[in-house]
């Protein structure tokens, strides 16, 4: 049975006296341990889907099941790295990363040890005592990521986690994420706007259509694991998947250009 299951999910927002569909009729199953990447045009409802899955929004139609149970309140099984970072401005980097562990009641020394590891992983050692306001955009995103990984939730929802990073750092992060995924067998839904990233990381790639967004196609990526994110672009499997997906995206694109 799928760990996460969307059946006919739609979400609408109200504006003044009009309603407005953000996503329509989403059908999606994510297996336990799967790495699903999601790609689609801006404003098509990718973040909305993650919000629904985390239980911080409720669907207007359809049902979302997590581990067999309907998601009707905040879903604490998942860890969610939102598109906008939600760092607490009154906590230093270290304290922010520790947050999830504090909640789990982990002892201080254990917390520090674990957090230091993840802070190092995201390349922020030396910044432990800085406040979020004293960091650059990319650094803030990395703190968010470290926070999420440190408290080790069963499922990860990642909304453009590497969007603000330079190409190189992005590759490193991808690599490390895959490593962690392999070790811990987490389930991951990963939203990105970079097709390369989507293809090189995902077991499957879900392509969203334009607003009101729905899933246009789901493509299985047959590149064998473990993958070398640094050189994956050279593999023929990559090119094949890339081409298929690109043509799917292109349709949306053509629509866009014609505007």
């Amino acid at each position: 049975m799928a760990l996460i299951k969307f059946s006919g999910v739609s979400k609408q927002f109200e504006r003044n006296d009009e309603t407005f569909w953000a996503t329509r009729n989403i059908n999606l199953e994510v297996e336990k341990g799967e790495f699903l990447t999601v790609i689609g045009p801006s404003g098509c409802g990718k973040s909305t889907v993650l919000n629904l899955c985390a239980g911080i929004m409720t669907a207007d139609e359809g049902a979302i099941m997590y581990d067999g149970k309907p998601v009707n309140k905040v879903n604490t099984k998942v860890g969610y790295m939102t598109q906008k970072d939600n760092l607490l401005p009154w906590r230093t980097v270290m304290k922010n990363v520790e947050l999830g562990l504090e909640i789990q009641g982990i002892s201080r020394s254990e917390r520090e040890k674990r957090c230091r590891r993840y802070i190092e992983m995201v390349g922020l050692d030396g910044f432990e005592k800085h406040y979020p306001q004293e960091l650059s955009g990319g650094m803030r995103k990395r703190v968010s990521l470290a926070q999420l990984l440190a408290y080790n939730p069963e499922t990860l929802l990642l909304d453009e986690p590497f969007g603000a990073l330079d190409a190189q750092l992005r590759l490193i992060m991808q690599d490390k994420l895959l490593e962690i995924w392999k070790e811990t067998k987490k389930t991951i839904i990963f939203v990105t706007h970079d097709l390369d990233e989507a293809v090189s990381l995902g077991d499957r790639v879900a392509v969203f259509s334009k607003r009101p967004g729905t899933i246009k196609m789901i493509e299985k990526i047959n590149i064998p694991r473990p993958r070398d994110v640094y050189n994956i672009r050279l593999s023929p499997d990559f090119s094949k998947a890339h081409t298929t997906l690109w043509s799917a995206l292109k349709d949306e694109f053509e629509l866009e250009v014609s505007i």
């Binding site: 911080i56 905040v74 998942v78 009154w90 947050l99 406040y131």
Partner: protein, 278 residues
């Protein structure tokens, strides 16, 4: 250490001492300006009193100084002030705690807020003087009555600000920590309180003077001790010097209290903000 590193080291130290110097210099400058304002005010006061406005109404700086000096020497000042201080502090602490807690709870419990808010706000608008008989009837004329009067006044002010602060907590931060599986307690202490703190601070700042006013009004209503008694007594003797002396003592105490409370909280909890503003 490479020579470049040494230069960096040095420039670090230079920047540091520069900054400290700047801060100290600014502080001195500020103190001088404030002192100047005080002296200027005293001068104007001195000039006005007796010449433009009858001394009977506005006393004069020298009379006030004399009154304060006399009270200080006789020990009265310390005696009365210590009572008022006690009432104010206790009233402030109880009122602020109660207001904070209620404001906090209603801030989290939206439905309860909708139900109770109008009732709280309407109680808030009752003039406490009109209720003095009931206060005396129920709480006597001792120190309790004044503490309660101060606490009630503080309660509403802290309530409104805490409530607003809690309602203004960033929703995304709340959801973020909720997803992490935080309990209500954890949400409270890790997100809601720190985030509402700027608001609560304003509530406290607003209510410190009112704690004092509450206690003093209580003393004026019924008492034979406290600074309110000094005011009442001096007023009864048409001793404006004494009245003004008592008022100035109140002002000084309130400045001190304000300084301590806000200073403490800002240093301790709002550091991330003050750091920013530099």
């Amino acid at each position: 250490m490479s020579s470049e590193a040494i230069i960096i080291e040095q420039s670090k130290k230079k920047a540091l001492s520069k900054r400290k110097m700047r801060k100290r210099k600014e502080f001195i400058k500020l103190s001088i300006i404030r002192l100047f304002i005080i002296v200027f005010t005293l001068f104007i006061w001195h000039f006005l009193s007796g010449r433009v406005i009858d001394k009977f109404w506005i006393s004069s700086p020298t009379d006030v100084m004399q009154a304060i000096y006399k009270w200080t020497v006789s020990g009265e000042l310390f005696y009365h002030l210590s009572i008022t201080v006690q009432e104010t502090l206790l009233g402030f602490v109880f009122g602020a705690l109660a207001g904070g807690i209620v404001g906090f709870l209603l801030g989290r419990w939206t439905y309860g807020a909708k139900i109770f808010e109008p009732f709280i706000m309407s109680l808030y608008s009752l003039p406490k003087i009109a209720l003095a008989p009931l206060f005396i009837l129920w709480f006597g004329i001792g120190i309790d009555m004044k503490i309660i009067l101060a606490a009630v006044t503080v309660f509403f002010l802290v309530f409104i600000n805490t409530y607003a602060g809690v309602r203004n907590v960033d929703k995304d931060m709340l959801e973020n920590i909720r997803i992490m599986g935080a309990s209500e307690r954890q949400i409270t202490f890790k997100v809601v309180l720190p985030s509402a703190l700027t608001w609560i601070m304003v509530g406290l700042r607003t209510s410190i003077p009112y704690a004092l006013i509450g206690a003093v009004v209580g003393e004026i209503t019924a008492s034979n001790r406290g600074v309110g008694y000094l005011i009442q007594y001096s007023a009864g003797q048409y001793d404006t010097g004494g009245t003004f002396a008592a008022l100035i003592i109140l002002m000084l105490f309130s400045i001190a209290l304000n300084f301590i409370v806000t200073g403490l909280i800002e240093k301790r909890f709002l550091r991330w903000k003050t750091d920013q503003s530099n």
